[in-house]
Amino acid sequence: MKYLDEYRNADAARSLVRAIAARVTRPWNIMEVCGGQTHAIVRFALDEILPDEIRLIHGPGCPVCVTPLETIDRAIALAARPEVILCSFGDMLRVPGSGKDLFTVKSEGGDVRVVYSPIDAVTLARKHPDRQVVFFAIGFETTAPANAMAAVQAARLGLENFSMLVAHVLVPPAIRAVLDVPDCRVQGFLAAGHVCTVMGAAEYRPLAERYRVPIVITGFEPLDILRGVLMCVEQLESGRHEVANAYPRAVRPEGNPAAQRQVAEVFEPTGRKWRGIGEIPASGWRLGPAYARFDAERRFDLGHITAEEPDACRAGDVLQGRLRPCECPSFGVECTPEQPLGALMVSAEGACAAYYRYRRK
């Protein structure tokens, strides 16, 4: 496929690795923020062909992984209601809640449907006026414009049987949270390319400035990632800390203004709890006043749900780059994709799933 395959060219990758090796004079810890990048790194063994000095630390950029247990439990409670059709992206179905997962609710007769696009959930609501359709709206800034459009369409069509369980999270506050940990070892970041496709680069400049870290906007194919590492190393070696763009075919400095406008009309900032990490202020979006009537948490009385994470799961340490998945004692033993203890083992972008699938050690 054009704009995909050519960025996997092995000779070109070797050229970039040589260029990195030529620049590097000492060890550097670089965090790739996005789980999609983690998967590409492990799948193509990019960490193994890079010079020993470069250590890639896997970051918290997997929305499925960071959606808190309480929210999963709320989705499960909604899905179990007879009048509800719960629509979700496929990744969420196997994520363990405190008791079960959505997949189990489905096998017990709950109406859980996997949608490709949020608009499909709106279409379902139109088709089933006698049912309540709830869309489980998770994601980072990349997914927010699509999810926002679901609310806009539901309003346009005057749908009274559509609502959203919103668990949106944002990347810049997560980067800040990683950097604020006293023993943080991360010296540079590969920022999540598609988040920046929507939001642009502006939010990252104050972070690079304040924490004196280079932040390089990076794509997802091997050449994109190696180009990102190279640009990050060049800055680190020369003592600079700027926001740079290693993914210009998909990211303009201003992002996508039309998408930003729609998101701002539908959502407003809110504090969010991140699974394994805890509460991060202003780290998410919820439906703003104009669309609050589509908020599933207002429409349905779900009571008070609190949940405890299983102690054996070290997801918090993995998400913050303190532990490699294979260093978790449960990895591949009590925790496998068939019997996951944590979301990181089931999400298509979870770091534990990547190690299990491609490396198994």
Binding site: A19, I49, T143, M149, H194, A250
Partner: protein, 96 residues
């Protein structure tokens, strides 16, 4: 989750007041919403995420990394033989 796939616009149309397009991904055609890339035309490539085009692919910028690689290759292996050797070594990273 933030997966974005480049696809080529085959034709555009309207549905439920939304600008839409048939977009081709390596032979597979899907209906994609163009609300956020209203200028995109048939023949152009868009980056698609959960059924929405989130941006047009900048075709000139798409060559940037290849131009860069050509440049460094034309200058000879940067850092000389030692660096190439480090690159060839492979498997050297800390893999746990």
């Amino acid at each position: 989750m933030c997966l974005g796939i480049p696809g080529k616009i085959v034709e555009t149309f309207q549905r439920d007041q939304l600008p839409m397009a048939k977009v081709e991904f390596g032979g597979i055609i899907k209906d994609i919403c163009l609300a956020y890339t209203p200028e995109a035309q048939p023949g152009q490539y868009v980056l698609v995420h959960v059924g929405f085009a989130i941006n047009q692919i900048d075709e000139a910028e798409a060559e940037e990394v290849f131009r860069y690689i050509e440049e460094i290759e034309a200058m000879g292996a940067p850092g000389g033989p030692e660096a190439s050797e480090a690159a060839e070594r492979g498997g050297g990273g800390e893999t746990g």
